[in-house]
């Protein structure tokens, strides 16, 4: 029987079990790395470095996870803080790495052109709209959860999602049915 996230967390908390934490990383790495790739505008190396830092920070502060939110939501919040800290240090925006974006595209995708356009359109959005769209529309967080992750008011999240969606629809109008 597969252990739940709660079982694995208990093992990490009680014994400091690094294998249990490794399993948690394996389960959550894709959405966390995906979020950071969107935030860093698909700079894959930087996103993976930040994802690594996210999980290490989560491990060090695992006792502060009270189980009030989902573990994934807690991870997103750490990831967003790690990204923000890094952005403050760099004080510069990174551009879209088209070559890397192409090489990362899943070969099984039904329409690689659509994925490319979608990713480019997302990357073209301002950070506050992009992060709200990725959290709510791609990762299925509620507006409430996204507000907690991004540490902004609920109304601002709703506005950012709405504006971001409008811009995306305009940019992707060629793909509309």
């Amino acid at each position: 029987m597969e252990l739940t996230d709660a079982d694995l967390l208990a093992r990490v908390l009680v014994d400091g079990d690094q294998h249990a934490f490794g399993e948690l990383v394996r389960r959550h790495q894709s959405p966390v790395r995906g979020l950071l790739r969107q935030l860093t505008r698909t700079d894959l190396e930087l996103a993976d470095d930040l994802a690594q830092e996210t999980f290490i920070r989560a491990y060090k502060n695992i006792r502060s996870f009270r189980g009030e939110a989902k573990f994934s939501t807690w991870l997103y919040r750490i990831a967003y803080n790690v990204f923000r800290d890094d952005a403050r240090k760099r004080k510069e925006l990174v551009g879209i790495d088209e070559a890397k974006l192409q090489s990362e595209a899943d070969p099984q995708t039904a329409d690689p052109g659509l994925r490319h356009d979608l990713m480019s359109a997302l990357a073209a959005l301002p950070l506050h709209e992009r992060s709200a769209i990725v959290l709510c529309c791609q990762n299925g967080l509620s507006h409430d959860e996204a507000a907690r992750v991004l540490e902004i008011p609920l109304g601002t999240v709703k506005t950012n999602v709405l504006r971001g969606r409008e811009k995306l629809k305009k940019m992707l109008s060629a793909w509309a049915p």
Binding site: G22, G34, I56, Y59, T109, C137, S142, D144, R165
Partner: protein, 113 residues
């Protein structure tokens, strides 16, 4: 309540469908090799607390006229009857045991939920 904004709008469907699954490709192993040893974290914390305690005691000693009140307390304790000293020690022991038991039960309840 703000539920996840799942709708059948074509953009939402596309955003969900086109979110690529990122293959682990050794990522979790790399993270695990870089995790700090929890024992070293605990030792580090204990050393910091111990040093802070020693530092506070030294400051308190000099700030209070080289601990005259401690010498006075010891001198006063020596004049007390052995029965009273024994009674006080037993009361302190019981109090500490009760606090320890309460903390253990609280921790046990926290882990069970």
């Amino acid at each position: 309540m703000n539920e996840p904004p799942v709708t059948e709008d074509w953009l939402d469907v596309r955003l969900r469908e086109e979110a690529p699954y990122i293959d682990d490709a050794g990522f979790s192993k790399r993270v695990v090799t870089k995790l700090p040893d929890r024992r070293s974290l605990r030792t580090q914390r204990a050393v910091i607390i111990f040093l802070a305690a020693v530092f506070s005691v030294v400051i308190a000693y000099f700030a209070s006229g080289e601990g005259w009140f401690v010498r006075e307390a010891v001198a006063r304790a020596l004049t007390l009857s052995p029965l009273l000293v024994l009674g006080s020690a037993a009361a302190c022991g019981l109090l500490l045991s009760a606090a320890g038991l309460w903390a253990a039960l609280a921790r046990g309840r926290g882990q069970a939920t």
